[in-house]
Structures are given as structure tokens and as C-alpha cells.
């Protein structure tokens, strides 16, 4: 079956891609470019970097812009999946949805309307396990945004490691450790399917403790 990956460039969509890769023919990535961090359906910080990740993977990318309201998000998703169906004859969509019924039900609805299979291989997975799986699968992941107590500004730009996972475990009663509710967002610089890895050359961190974002100003692909 030919499938596309609903791809944000973060750890979840990359884990979903890794799981799907040996089962299906992944013919393209699709990404929605929202207007701001206020978007409740799609990942925002540094979404433009998916172009580099697509090149690193050697998998073509289709994109659509969206405003931050629900109607615009869904229209963009219908458009981009419609294009993927027409251009690459996809029969299914693989997403990185974990726990949000808001996200999952919207993805299911759009896929159903477009007569596409919807696969959510991370669905309801224990969230600390996913962070560990990313590390154990040799992902290089950095934090690009934090939004909520008790996450401090100094986490932004840091690489995911076991110390951070232990910290998330400790604060799991007040924070969703997979970050799916937007408590934090991530960017994958390298993973096993990348032929090259991303190297950030210049960046800025804006904001304060509990609400900070990494803005990547310059990036390149380098050999692994």
C-alpha cells in the first residue's frame, strides 16, 4: 500500500514514519504550515525545516498553508491529502497522534471522507516509552518550544537525553510527557532513515521560562 506521513518534523511523526517504513511504501510526506503557535491541530515552531528533513529522507514533501482556526486547518488537510492522492496515488495516511481525541477524530474524519486508510501507530502508547523509543532508535531530538509550568527556558535547544526523560517522569503529574498538548515541541535533527543530518548554524531563543521558542535562523544538511 502507498501511504503518506502526516509530518511535522518532530519526534512523533518521525517515530510513526520509522514504524511504517518497512511495512508500506512511503511515497510522500505532507505538512501543514500553520500561522502561529496558537494552532491546536498542527505543530508550528520551525515547521519550514521539514523541507530539509524531506531532502534528508529522500521522500518528497507536499505542503499547504493554514490559518489557525479549525475550519482553515481542516480545509488545508483536505487539500494536501487530495493532492497526495492525485499525485502519488496514496491509499493511506500515517499519523503520529498519541492521545488527543481532538486531533485523532479530525484526522479520522478527513481520511474517511477522502476514502483513505488512517493509521495511528503510536495511539495510546505510554508517553515516557515513546521518548525512550526515540532515543533507543538513535534519534537526535532537540526541544524547539516549551509552553507551561514547570518547563524552563533553558530546555529550549537542548537535546533529548535520559536525564530529561527522568525529569519528565518526575513531573508527569503536572505535565504530559509526550508534549502532545503543546507543552513542548521537538525537532528531529537525525534518525535512522535520514541520509544526511540537520546541523543548526544559527538560532535564537525568544521568550521566558514556561513559554519560550527556538527560532532556527540558519541550517544545513551534513553527511552522517
Amino acid at each position: 500500500m502507498k501511504v503518506c506521513i502526516l509530518y511535522s518534523g518532530g519526534k512523533d511523526s518521525n517515530l510513526a514514519l520509522l514504524k511504517a517504513y518497512n511495512i508500506f511504501r512511503v511515497v510522500c510526506l505532507v505538512s501543514i504550515f500553520p500561522r502561529s503557535v496558537e494552532n491546536s491541530l498542527f505543530h508550528y515552531p520551525n515547521i519550514n525545516l521539514v523541507r530539509f528533513q524531506s531532502e534528508a529522507l529522500g521522500i518528497p514533501l507536499l505542503t499547504e498553508d493554514s490559518l489557525d482556526d479549525e475550519e482553515s486547518n481542516l480545509e488545508a488537510l483536505y487539500r494536501v491529502l487530495g493532492r497526495a492522492k492525485e499525485k502519488y496515488q496514496i491509499e493511506g495516511v500515517v499519523t503520529g497522534a498519541i492521545r488527543s481525541t481532538y486531533q485523532a477524530s479530525r484526522f479520522q474524519r478527513v481520511c474517511w471522507d477522502l476514502d483513505l486508510w488512517c493509521f495511528n501507530p503510536l495511539w495510546l502508547t505510554d508517553q515516557i516509552s515513546l521518548l525512550k523509543e526515540a532515543l533507543n532508535s538513535n534519534f537526535e531530538v532537540i526541544f524547539t518550544r516549551i509552553a507551561g509550568y514547570p518547563l524552563k527556558k533553558d530546555l529550549v535547544g537542548k537535546k533529548l537525553d535520559y536525564t530529561i526523560i527522568e525529569y519528565f517522569k518526575k513531573i508527569s503529574n503536572i505535565l504530559n510527557p509526550a508534549g502532545e498538548g503543546g507543552e513542548y515541541e521537538t525537532l528531529v535533527l537525525d534518525m535512522p532513515l535520514f541520509r544526511k543530518k540537520l546541523e543548526i548554524l544559527n538560532y535564537e531563543v525568544v521568550g521566558d521560562d514556561y513559554d519560550a521558542t527556538l527560532i532556527v535562523k540558519d541550517v544545513r544538511l551534513v553527511s552522517k
Binding site: 508500506f24 481525541t101 485523532a104 477524530s105 479520522q108 474524519r109 481520511c111 474517511w112 486508510w117 493509521f119
Partner: protein
């Protein structure tokens, strides 16, 4: 020992519809095996069976309903989730109707029962077919609008839920494992 039956045409969907159930079973320290809907099902060592759900676009299990005729003579407990609910309903001669439901909806419990104690609760639905009416072999336990979303087979320990309890109502699965 519990048997989990996958109704997924594609194994890749088992990450989404079987694994979450097996995690709940593991949390309850119950051992389990997994079989697929189109295999010959042998029940000798299983005290309870959970028939797991599948994807919205997947109806292949409806071609294998006869593979579940063992349910009629089975003495243990069965929990049918979504496609499992549909299989149970059909085995007992009920007519599924086209009811497309995706997302969160509020459920109203009609009869107190061993799996659902609250009078109302929210649950996650993902199905194309369900029941509006049941014959005398089934007892309606809960409704979502005009859909009978939870039933029990009369005089049997067989339960069907058209929603996915693994998403927001894990306690239903836990009560099935502990009390049935």
C-alpha cells in the same frame, strides 16, 4: 488466561486497536494470547475473550462472522469492542444499521451494570455500523442518542460496546477482567 482477538485486516492497525488493550491487560497482571479474526479460534485455555476493534474503513471481519459461532456455546466472558460488538450482535441475529460516528460523545446508561457504574460518561467512537434496535436476546445497557452503544447477551457473560473503552474508559476493560 485471556484471549485477545484482532479484527484488523492490516497488522499495522494492531498498534492502534490491539496493543492499547493488551497494555491494560498487562497492567492487571493477566496473561494473554492474541489471535486473528480469520484464524481457527481454539478456546480451551481461555476464561475470557476480548474481541478488539479495527479501523473505520475495515469491514473484512464481517466476512468471517461464522468464525465466531463458538460464542454461542462459550461459558466464559466476552467483551466485544466496536467490530467485536458488531460480531456479537450479528451472531445473535441482530441487524446492524449504518450509523457513522467519529469522536467523543456522551453516553447515557440505561441499566446499572457490572461494567459501567456512572449514569453518564463520555467515550470515543469510531464506527460505521451499530444498532438502533435489538432483539430479545440482547439487553440494552446504554445509549448514545438513538444508538444502543452497550448491550449484554441475556443469561450470558457476553458484552458489546460500540465505542472504544481503551481511549477514555479503561475502567470498563479492568472491570471486565476483574469481575466477569
Amino acid at each position: 488466561m485471556i484471549l485477545l482477538i484482532s479484527t484488523c485486516r492490516y497488522n499495522f492497525h494492531e498498534y492502534e486497536f490491539v496493543k492499547p488493550i493488551s497494555r491494560v491487560v498487562e497492567k492487571c497482571n493477566v496473561s494473554y494470547d492474541i489471535m486473528r479474526y480469520n484464524e481457527e479460534i481454539r478456546l480451551n485455555k481461555y476464561s475470557r475473550v476480548i474481541i478488539c476493534g479495527t479501523a473505520l474503513k475495515d469491514f473484512d471481519y464481517l466476512n468471517y462472522v461464522d468464525n465466531f459461532k463458538w460464542i454461542v456455546d462459550y461459558k466464559g466472558g466476552v467483551l466485544g469492542i466496536s467490530s467485536g460488538y458488531q460480531i456479537l450482535a450479528k451472531i445473535y441475529g441482530n441487524q446492524l444499521e449504518e450509523i457513522e460516528k467519529i469522536g467523543l460523545y456522551k453516553i447515557r446508561v440505561l441499566r446499572k451494570n457490572i461494567l459501567a457504574e456512572k449514569q453518564e460518561f463520555y467515550a470515543y467512537f469510531l464506527h460505521k455500523y451499530a444498532l438502533r434496535n435489538v432483539n430479545r436476546k440482547l439487553i440494552p445497557l446504554a445509549k448514545q442518542n438513538d444508538e444502543i452503544c452497550m448491550f449484554k447477551v441475556r443469561n450470558k457473560k457476553l458484552y458489546g460496546v460500540s465505542f472504544h473503552p481503551e481511549v477514555l474508559n479503561e475502567e470498563i476493560i479492568i472491570k471486565f477482567l476483574r469481575n466477569i
